[in-house]
């Protein structure tokens, strides 16, 4: 899977490669937002009780009447004979789809155990698709921890949709990566103002309404973790727009402007649409910048959004970067972001969590961005933290959200100033 492609070494950042215990989620976690994006899809993990427990714990308290995700838990009998496992899976899928007739797309999601026992989910998907005779499409991808970290699960899910996307050379802007619906609507209307009418999204809101792809498609990545999907789209004839990611005022502006440029929109018209947004976004940022300016920031590797967020927090909020961790570094997708980081920024790839925590303790940063397993322990050591998982759940893209995004990081620091017990 798309682990780092070390093609061109970036000039400025210092890269520290670490291997050891990785305190990150696996790709199954991305089901938590993917299933909300496509309400007509069901995500069935084929795995163990651990997988079920992980998705449940990552989803936290979000308990729906009946969620649109679940786990087919392998038992000892399934391990003993794979032929039985396939029959069992077919039976379970039939029961599930009978119970949930509204489901149009079923994703069979591979896990660590299903991959280790080499349960062939692609053949299962083909078999089930033909059994359901067009009523439900059954797809498969891997969300396993041995293949993917956290957000890479979305990359693999989108890759599995790719073969179903019709071919068309129609000119269109394709936004790739899950966005909150309201944020997506906002981008679509802004692009319309700039004269770009054909704007489509992957993943779509309905799993069956997949956008086409072909020579006229220009791909704009909304998320920085879609290495495999972006390359596969390019191999279908699409062109990848090089841009930073739409976090913060600057990133969002450059992201939209890059798309406009790719469509030959007059820069004056782009400025006319975006300048008021930029001005308003900066005003929204200002009070948070006051809190964040000069504060020292340490980002633990987690969601793969660390580098763009570090760029935003350093350039627009005035924070000093102590270390920017990333689970893996895709230099091609991060090229624009790396170039915008202050020179000499310490970037670390991979993780050895104990040694990284030693660096945190030595540096005593003002804020650490980290996962839920590390946050309270660091707070107890007197170090303020921001949970990174909120960043994949909250609408944070776009100029209009820049103030909210900064607020997420300013809040823990404000809170510390508010509390007094003596």
């Amino acid at each position: 899977m798309g682990v780092s492609v070390a093609d061109a070494a970036s000039a400025s950042p210092e890269l520290l490669k670490q291997s050891g215990q990785r305190e990150v989620f696996c790709g199954l976690t991305s089901i938590v937002w993917l299933h909300r994006r496509m309400p007509d899809a069901f995500f069935l993990v084929v795995g163990s009780r651990t997988c079920a427990h992980l998705v449940q714990s990552a989803a936290g308290v979000m308990i729906f009447a009946e969620p649109r995700f679940g786990t087919a838990i392998l038992g000892e009998r399934d391990l003993a004979g794979l032929a039985d496992a396939n029959e069992e899976l077919d039976r379970l899928v039939r029961d599930l789809l009978e119970r949930r007739p509204e489901i149009r797309t079923l994703f069979l999601v591979g896990s660590c155990p299903s991959e280790v026992i080499k349960l062939d989910l692609s053949r299962a998907a083909e078999r089930l698709t033909s059994q359901f005779n067009g009523r439900v499409r059954v797809l498969n991808y891997s969300g396993s921890g041995i293949e993917t970290t956290f957000t890479q699960g979305e990359d693999n899910a989108l890759l599995s949709l790719l073969p179903l996307m019709p071919s068309s050379n129609e000119n269109q802007l394709l936004i790739v990566g899950t966005l909150a619906d309201a944020v997506e609507d906002r981008f679509v209307s802004l692009f319309a103002k700039m004269g770009i009418e054909a704007v489509r999204s992957l993943p779509p809101r309905r799993s069956t309404e997949l956008p086409p792809v072909g020579k006229g498609t220009k791909v704009l990545l909304a998320q920085p973790f879609l290495s495999g999907t972006s390359r596969a789209l390019v191999s279908r004839g699409a062109e990848l727009i090089n841009a930073p990611y739409p976090f913060g005022v600057e990133g969002s502006r450059d992201w939209m402007a890059a798309a406009a440029a790719a469509f030959g929109v007059d820069p004056a018209r782009v400025a006319q649409v975006l300048d008021p947004l930029v001005e308003r976004g900066r005003r929204a940022l200002a009070p948070h910048r006051q809190v964040l300016e000069g504060k020292r920031l340490f980002l633990m590797p987690d969601s793969q959004m660390e580098i763009p967020l570090a760029r935003f927090l350093s350039r627009e909020c005035g924070m000093e970067l102590v270390e920017v961790g990333t689970p893996y570094l895709d230099r091609q997708l991060m090229a624009q972001e790396l170039a915008l980081l202050p020179s000499g920024t310490q970037v670390s790839e991979g993780q050895d969590v104990e040694r990284q925590l030693e660096r945190v303790r030595a540096a005593r940063p003002d804020l650490v961005v980290c996962g839920l397993g590390l946050a309270n322990p660091l707070e107890a050591e007197g170090i303020a933290t921001k949970w990174s998982i909120e960043l994949v759940f909250s609408p944070i893209h776009g100029c209009d959200q820049a103030g909210d995004l900064a607020e997420l990081f300013a809040r823990p620091l404000r809170r510390r100033q508010l509390l007094a017990f003596s």
């Binding site: 215990q21 990785r22 990150v24 696996c26 790709g27 199954l28 976690t29 909300r36 163990s48 009780r49 651990t50 079920a52 427990h53 992980l54 990552a58 936290g60 308290v61 979000m62 308990i63 729906f64 009447a65 009946e66 969620p67 679940g70 786990t71 087919a72 838990i73 038992g75 000892e76 399934d78 391990l79 496992a85 899976l89 039976r91 029961d95 599930l96 660590c112 155990p113 991959e115 280790v116 396993s144 921890g145 041995i146 970290t149 909150a180 619906d181 104990e354 996962g371 839920l372 397993g373 590390l374 946050a375 309270n376 322990p377 707070e379 107890a380 998982i389 909120e390 759940f393 909250s394």
Partner: protein, 571 residues
């Protein structure tokens, strides 16, 4: 292969983590793929722990599988021992590592660990679950630390009353409390205090707060108290077999159980006088004479305001220990009617079945929360006592609920002292089960004044979130009461708001007529009559009347049908 949407228990290695994290000086090396570190957040978030669980994971990835994962295990063990310098080491594997068969326990056994006791955990991930894993880990750890001390067969059992000759107070171990258990921290404090009042010392509490050296001292006690059988049963049985340590098995939750517990332990230790009265062996004076003076539950339950609790229909589901205790308290000490009892603890199913049988019920033993929700719906309870799962199901059904058992939510780990066991536990139980219901007088007044113009249909109890007994979901046909949250996207990270999700979906699912059954309609006068009935019982009357009509093949319910049904059902 079984379909699981939400699970009551995690995998067995999470049970092992609960033992390691509950203790001091124990470290657990877990051979597990990247991603399995998610389990840390159970402790740091739900329990708000101020430190990471003492677990080092190998977090192997696909690229490691091509190479030497056994070497990775050995390196991880060596690093963890050097970094954490544990007093005892647990070595095990999660579900995926079990498949690649590196046998980390055997690898560890071949290493020089500097003499640290090492326990190789064999926890079958594809057939066992979290509580079993916790019990097995606790048992293996105790056994490893104590096996050198086991007296030869034939050694006479020590008398639990030997303290009288040894010139000391009697002492017992409290076994079973863990992190992520239900209110364990507070139960330990309550029971320690209760025993002290009776002149009994607590020797070792384990696993919670114990070090390996404390486990070595377990046989020095006169008896073991098996506080949480889910975790401590196998350890208690082994200590009984190997060291002749008797076990106090009554779990002191509720008034009668606390009394029975005291009777069992004082009799065993020889603290009961010739007249049968419990003496405190000459310990501190001021011993509470009876439960009536020690806990407010008996008087509160007898007081007139509690009259309205009589026969309240209650549905109970949880781990075996808490579910069985809840059934006894609900039926005997609060005068509720238990209309459903079940547990996800298959290991303790026998006890739950027996308790259910006593109440004329069939126990529901399952780990499928949808089956529990279905049983709950069919039982039409007025109060649900359950886990976090049942709290959500009850919310969807518009029935008040109190959480009595794991699995937990962060809000079930309260800041205040809130035990379940002993006298104070009974007070806590009274408050937390009765408060979600509408107060007696309030219920009466709403009934009296419901025709006044000030009266708003859907009036809620003063107890904000605690009184969803008349939420819109309970009366889905009423047009004025559509839940506002239908279809709105709620930030899943926002716990409080998200709990309300799914109201509409649940309503649709639950109210849909069973396929094949006749479709029942209400005539305008039937509907009008129905709306004269107080809304908090309306959905029940609606359901009962429809059931009555269905049985008789009546397709249109009018006012007469409603009164026929009322007359029929009141017999």
């Amino acid at each position: 292969m079984e379909l699981s949407l939400w699970t009551y228990e995690g995998p067995p290695h999470v049970g092992a983590m609960r033992i390691a994290a509950s203790m001091e000086g124990v470290h657990y090396v877990l051979h597990a793929p990247q991603g399995d570190t998610y389990a840390d957040l159970l402790f740091t978030m739900i329990e708000r722990r101020d430190r990471r669980p003492p677990v080092t994971y190998t977090t192997f990835q696909a690229r490691d599988l091509g190479g030497d994962t056994a070497e990775l295990v050995q390196r991880t063990i060596a690093d963890a021992v050097q970094r954490f310098q544990p007093e005892a080491l647990l070595v095990g594997e999660s579900c995926t590592a079990e498949l690649i068969q590196d046998q980390p326990g055997a690898l560890a056994a071949g290493m020089d660990l500097g003499g640290i006791p090492m326990v190789s955990l064999d926890l079958p991930a594809y057939s066992k679950k979290e509580n079993w894993g916790a019990a097995e880990t606790f048992y293996q750890l105790v056994r490893t630390l104590l096996k050198a001390q086991v007296p030869p067969p034939g050694t006479p059992k020590p008398s639990p009353q030997r303290w009288q000759q040894e010139g000391r107070r009697p002492r017992v171990n409290l076994l079973g409390p863990t992190l992520l258990g239900f209110r364990c921290r507070d139960d330990v404090k309550e029971i320690t205090g209760l025993l002290q009042e009776h002149g009994i010392e607590v020797a070792v509490v384990a696993p919670l707060g114990a070090r390996p050296a404390d486990l070595v001292r377990l046989p020095e006690a006169d008896a073991n108290v098996c506080l949480y059988p889910e975790v401590a049963d196998s350890v208690c049985s082994w200590l009984e077999r190997s060291f002749g340590l008797p076990v106090v098995r009554t779990v002191p939750i509720g008034i009668s159980a606390t009394e029975a517990f005291l009777k069992e332990i004082t009799t065993l230790l020889g603290l009961t006088g010739a007249d049968g009265a419990v003496s405190n062996g000459g310990a501190a004076p001021g011993l509470p004479a009876t439960a009536a003076s020690a806990s407010r539950l008996p008087w509160y339950s007898r007081s007139v305001d509690s009259t309205y609790l009589t026969g309240k229909r209650v549905f109970i589901f949880g781990d075996a220990t808490h579910a069985v205790a809840a059934a006894r308290i609900a039926s005997k000490e609060l005068g509720f009617e238990v209309v459903g009892l079940g547990s996800y603890s298959r290991e303790q199913a026998r006890e739950v079945r027996a308790a259910a049988k006593e109440l004329g019920l069939e126990a529901l033993i399952t780990d499928d929360y949808l089956a529990v929700e279905k049983a709950m719906t069919e039982a039409a309870p007025e109060l649900v006592l359950g886990t976090q799962m049942e709290r959500h199901s009850a919310k969807r059904l518009g029935v008040p609920c109190a959480v009595i058992s794991t699995p937990l939510h962060v809000q079930d780990v309260p800041a205040r002292y809130a035990p379940q066991m002993g006298w104070e536990g009974a007070n806590v139980i009274f408050d937390s089960w009765v408060h979600p219901l509408m107060m007696g007088l309030e219920e009466h007044l709403i009934g009296m004044f419901r025709h006044d113009f000030e009266f708003v249909d859907g009036h809620r109890s003063h107890l904000g979130d605690g009184a969803p007994s008349m939420t819109p979901a309970a009366d889905p046909v009423h047009p004025g009461l559509k839940p506002e949250l239908v279809g709105t996207a709620v930030d899943p990270a926002a716990s409080t708001a998200s709990a309300s999700l799914g109201v509409a979906t649940a309503t649709a699912t639950l109210e849909a007529p069973a396929s094949g059954a006749i479709e029942i309609r209400w005539s305008p006068d039937g509907e009008a009559e129905l709306h004269k009935i107080p809304f908090f019982v309306r959905s029940k009357v609606r359901r009962n009347t429809e059931g009555f009509a269905r049985e008789r093949g009546i397709a249109l319910i009018d006012a007469e049908t409603l009164y026929d049904a009322k007359a029929h059902l009141s017999h």
